[in-house]
């Protein structure tokens, strides 16, 4: 699409610092920080950057936390500083609405990931159609993609394509996949989608596999890769863009991004912003290993402390109960039930 700067790029890098990164910052990123990060990304030649509450449109809530500022304020701040990059956002039907999407468009957003759980693509037709009507670069984003098999996922992607999506993403929300899982899914999608429909991959680094998975996706036919500079994102973070670009350079895959600019940005801007070191640690590795939605990390840590239950126990239980993205309320519910069973005092006020 003409809105996106594709010059000299085989693979389109889409940065998530200012959306997925919001999860890692408990939604507390200032507009000044947003502008600083966006400017650096734009200067380093990153063609797409996602901006909003971590949960995307409609995300401000007790369930997902309230951000420091409204999405409109963030978009306006970022819109002022970008010169070549396209600003995108996230819309999860059931949380965000078409009205929210129209407001986003008015504030300069020209691309959207319309996201559903990997088996529920048919909750997205009106939102995908609406995005296309607005003239936005429109992506169908299949979350927790490890919970559907390659053929099933391909059918879901085909549905999104039929609604109007121009790109279909395989989203490894739990950081659970291994390269062979990614290859199988990209291949299955490539077999059923129209040749002009692109495939994207959105990784999380919970098992330390995000770069390897992204490269595997490209080798199987993906042309869009999500990541975040410094890995600022939920769980153990997204695919670290600077390292991914370095690997691509060595492999002869052109991204059009400035490696040294990204390295400097990670070191000088992103790492100092982190409240905790976003890395593979006990909780995030548990998520990758058990297949739990990465955004649950900080919630589970907080609730675990509140009720005296190790976060790892809560995360494993959530994985067994097959809780999916958006069910953050079930973290406290699960902890309360576990606390009762363990005879812990839960009369906390």
């Amino acid at each position: 699409m003409s809105v996106i700067n594709r010059e000299g790029r085989q693979v389109l890098v889409h940065d998530m610092c200012l959306r997925d990164g919001m999860h890692a910052k408990r939604e507390q990123i200032s507009v000044e920080q947003m502008a600083t990060v966006a400017k650096a990304l734009d200067q380093a030649g990153v063609p797409m950057l996602q901006v909003s509450h971590g949960g995307g449109l409609g995300g401000n809530s007790l369930q997902h936390g309230f951000a420091m500022h409204s999405n409109e304020e963030y978009w306006d701040a970022v819109g002022d500083v970008i010169t070549q990059a396209t600003m995108s956002t996230l819309l999860i039907p059931g949380l965000g609405t078409m009205d929210d999407l129209r407001v986003a468009y008015q504030h300069g957003v020209r691309s959207v990931h319309v996201a559903t759980h990997c088996t529920e693509a048919d909750t997205s037709p009106q939102h995908i159609a609406c995005a296309r009507e607005l003239g936005m670069d429109t992506t169908g984003f299949l979350m927790m993609a490890h919970l559907n098999n390659p053929e099933g996922l391909a059918q879901q992607g085909k549905l999104m394509e039929s609604y109007g999506a121009k790109t279909v993403y395989i989203t490894d929300s739990a950081g659970y996949m291994l390269p062979a899982d990614v290859v199988a899914r990209v291949t299955a999608l490539r077999e059923v989608l129209l040749p002009e429909t692109e495939i994207g991959f959105h990784g999380h680094n919970n098992m330390g596999m995000s770069i390897a998975n992204s490269i595997a996706a490209i080798e199987a036919g993906a042309t869009r890769i999500d990541g975040s500079v410094g890995g600022l994102g939920a769980g153990a973070g997204n695919t670290p863009v600077e390292a991914f670009v370095a690997v691509c350079d060595r492999m002869g895959i052109s991204t059009g991004c400035d490696l040294f600019g990204l390295m400097d940005m990670a070191e000088d801007t992103i790492f100092p912003m982190m409240e905790h070191i976003v890395r593979v640690d006990r909780s995030s590795l548990t998520m990758g290993y058990a297949g739990v939605y990465s955004t649950f990390l900080l919630h589970a840590n907080r609730i675990g402390e509140k009720y005296g239950i190790p976060p790892r126990d809560i995360l494993v239980e959530l994985g067994q109960k097959k809780m999916i993205g958006g069910q953050e309320d079930m973290i406290e519910d699960t902890a309360l039930t576990m606390a009762k069973k363990r005879g812990l005092n839960i009369n906390v006020a």
Binding site: G94, T119, K322, M323, I324, A349
Partner: protein, 304 residues
């Protein structure tokens, strides 16, 4: 005792489950099922259960309304066709129970405001399954003290959500959020829906959070919530408190579960039951009014 004859419009999950609920009613009797696909399982099942059926939409029903004495119609189609259905049937003096998110008529959550609506309208709207499952709790808090903000999260089993709801999730969001304020009594409201495909399917779960203006009176709120749960259990026995109320600052959180009766879909689909049971209970109240001669159904020009 004579019963009020009912037509069901929409032969999907909700319409089909309603047949079972209405057949058990002391005051209602299902006589017509209206669909649009002659091959649909819903129409076939309705015919097997002894209802007259048409696959020609509401227009296929209209010529039979007077001769068959249909006085109440349940609309379980979609927000987009409800207005037209309601206009046509109201014009024949048929009272409408709207189970779509169209919300043309007053919003109704039986234990909260059903009695206020008696005789006042020819169309009532049942909001949404999440609305029926959560607004009683919002109201249970709001009747004790002012609620600035209420937020509900409904988790639904994928197998229980039909194609109509899936294709129109925004209408669900708007209608439910609005009703949290208008019926629940919160100043601001927000509704979130999550569709979970876990196998075996998860029972419908709802988390209700209310932020009160002043520090919450824990004892009174807990008592009010428990009383309200008892009221809902009268028509949905599987409406159950799992955890809470949890108090944190001015926030009150209640974790609920709704198991269905397993009439049409298995018990995990409590969302289906709470909607159809609420619709049925609402219709029964109006039916009792009609049977007692307190309410007369007149052909009307509906607000469309």
């Amino acid at each position: 005792m004579s019963k009020i004859k009912c037509a069901l419009i929409g032969s999907g999950n909700i319409g089909t489950d309603l047949i079972y609920k209405i057949q058990r009613s002391e005051f209602l009797e299902p006589v017509w099922m209206v669909g649009i696909d002659p091959e649909s399982e819903g129409l076939r099942r309705a015919a097997d259960m002894g209802l007259k059926t048409t696959a020609e939409g509401v227009d296929g029903l209209l010529p039979h309304v007077l001769e068959d004495g249909v006085q109440i119609a349940f609309d379980a189609t979609s927000a987009y066709v409800h207005a037209e259905n309601s206009r046509k049937l109201n014009a024949l003096g048929v009272f409408m129970v709207d189970l779509t998110p169209a919300a043309i008529g007053p919003l109704c959550v039986p234990p909260v405001n059903l009695t206020e609506l008696a005789g006042a309208t020819m169309n009532v709207n049942m909001i949404s399954c999440a609305g029926q499952a959560t607004i009683p709790i919002v109201n249970a808090v709001a009747r004790i003290q002012d609620v600035d903000y209420a937020e509900i999260v409904a988790s639904l089993a994928s197998l229980s959500i039909g194609p109509g709801t899936r294709a129109n999730l925004d209408e669900f969001t708007y209608t439910t959020s609005n009703a949290i304020c208008k019926v629940g009594g919160a100043r601001r409201g927000k509704a979130l829906a999550i569709i979970n495909p876990a196998d075996p399917p998860m029972i419908m779960r709802n988390t209700i959070s209310c932020v009160t203006d002043a520090e919450p009176d824990k004892e009174k709120i807990t008592e009010s919530v428990m009383a309200m749960i008892g009221e809902v259990q009268k028509y949905v026995p599987g409406y159950k408190l799992v955890n809470g109320p949890v108090f944190e600052g001015n926030k009150v959180v209640v974790f609920m579960e709704v198991a269905g009766l397993g009439d049409y879909l298995p018990t995990y689909a409590g969302n289906l039951d709470i909607m159809t049971a609420a619709g049925c209970r609402t219709a029964e109240m109006f039916a009792q009014e009609i049977l007692a001669g307190r309410m007369e159904l007149k052909p009307t020009e509906a607000v469309a």
